[in-house]
């Protein structure tokens, strides 16, 4: 099992830092989460809510037809939920545009290698595991 290159790079970035700097990196990522495109901006009910996140997070997954079926990810989380936004940004940076097979091949526990448990707490990390599970489920449904 290997991670898509962008996700592998992020994991390496986190692993190279101490706990406090990992939080800073997560904060920077939270600021980089792209805005929703217009077709989702006013249509939260067409997105899937990730209930396991401690703050409201909505997710949409698009799998393109043809080729290697690249996956595109869209997230919505409020500014007062920077941790949730940071997790979403990890998924976006690491997985957006990747082939469906590569997304499905990401190990479910890849996030343990980010080393965030100490800085963020294991409980808060449930959100990122749930995000990946829901992304994979939608990719499977679209390609199956």
């Amino acid at each position: 099992m290997s991670l898509p290159p962008a996700l592998a790079e992020l994991v390496d970035d986190f692993a190279a830092l101490g706990p406090k700097d990992r939080l800073q990196l997560l904060l920077e990522l939270s600021r980089e989460l792209p805005e929703l495109p217009d077709r989702y901006a006013d249509a939260a009910d067409s997105m899937e809510q990730v209930h396991e996140c401690q703050s409201p997070l909505f997710l949409a997954v698009e799998v393109a037809e043809g080729g290697d079926r690249p996956v595109h990810l869209f997230f919505s989380a409020p500014p007062e939920a920077p941790t949730t936004r940071g997790f979403a940004s990890i998924m976006h940076t690491g997985l957006d545009g990747q082939p469906a097979d590569a997304v499905l091949a990401v190990p479910d526990d890849f996030y343990t290698d980010l080393g965030l448990a100490e800085a963020v707490s294991p409980l808060r990390l449930r959100g990122i595991a749930a995000m990946l599970a829901r992304i994979k489920r939608q990719v499977r449904a679209a390609t199956g």
């Binding site: 904060l27 920077p82 941790t83 100490e118 409980l123």
Partner: protein, 300 residues
């Protein structure tokens, strides 16, 4: 020098008005010597995106919990947390946070386990401060280190363990004691579903502790996140639910955070004599062997 109390008339109606301050009072007293503002949030990064000027951060999960045992930190660690934030034993602490002060109330409760005398909540918390357009800054203060004494935690007064709750059940059924379940109604009834692939937070049984009244914690909050008036709170907890200030009350939720909020309401706003927070809550009770459980909307 003692920090004054907020004379706001809404606060004056509560049993212990000295336990709350309003946003306008805090804005005027940020420079008071002897006062330290503490932010404690659910979201571990929120403080870093902007906070009340001079406020320091205490994270409930990574700092107030023991990293190994499921328990709170000990007196030595607590003294270190306080000292490095410039908080002494005589300091007036004002705590605020996100989510209607849910985690701020939890921090305040933990501070109270160590007997810190003057710790207050900011009524309305972070969201009210932000909504009013008050100043927020991102620079992190560097407080002069204080010398907080090592005080042993005293769990006896305001904390209940599973054994205490089992002992309490008889008192509840005889009407001299009460249990308050502050989770959402589907959690209380035990109907909350577990979807495949998406485990909820590992309790193997759903439902509530027999005899518990269902009062979701957020019912104590007004639209703007501040506490409802004393009369509105009394209407919920006393008239509607039949609790009396002389009752021996135990509050619980899932891991003890939401119930800290209700503990604060019953103790300081309504003046109940004896309220304990059962922090083991449903993640302990719903997994414990041979403890009684009730399901459905009836108290049981």
């Amino acid at each position: 020098m003692a920090v004054t109390n907020d004379p706001d008339p809404k606060l004056a109606e509560y049993a212990h008005p000295e336990r709350l301050v309003t946003t306008s009072w805090l804005a005027d007293h940020l420079e008071d010597p002897g006062l330290v503002v503490v932010e404690s949030d659910e979201d571990v990064l929120l403080y870093d995106t902007g906070h009340i000027p001079g406020a320091v951060k205490v994270d409930w999960h990574t700092e107030l919990n023991d990293p190994v045992t499921r328990d709170y930190v000990d007196g030595t660690r607590f003294a270190e947390i306080m000292s490095e934030r410039g908080i002494g034993r005589d300091t007036t602490i004002v705590v605020y946070g996100d989510r209607n002060n849910w985690w701020a109330a939890y921090a305040l409760w933990v501070f109270s386990l160590f007997g810190h005398a003057d710790v207050r909540l900011l009524d309305g918390g972070r969201s009210k401060w932000v909504a009013e357009g008050r100043e927020m800054v991102t620079d992190t203060p560097t407080p002069a280190r204080a010398d907080y004494p090592v005080v042993e935690r005293d769990d006896a007064g305001i904390r209940a363990f599973k054994e205490d709750v089992l002992d309490h059940l008889g008192l509840v059924s005889s009407g001299g004691g009460a249990l308050v379940d502050v989770r959402s109604l589907p959690e209380y009834t035990g109907e909350k579903l577990h979807m495949p692939d998406y485990p909820q937070e590992g309790a193997v049984r759903g439902g509530h502790i027999p005899g518990a009244a269902s009062v979701p914690w957020a019912r104590a909050a007004a639209e703007d996140g501040s506490f409802k008036s004393r009369a509105e709170l009394a209407a919920i907890y006393e008239q509607e639910q039949g609790l009396a200030p002389s009752d021996d009350v135990v509050a619980y939720c899932r891991i003890g955070e939401r119930s800290s909020h209700t503990w604060f309401v019953l103790t300081y706003l309504l003046g109940f004599d004896r309220v304990r927070n059962y922090d083991g809550s449903w993640t302990e009770w719903g997994n414990a062997v041979r403890v009684p459980i009730a399901q459905g909307e009836e108290r049981g």
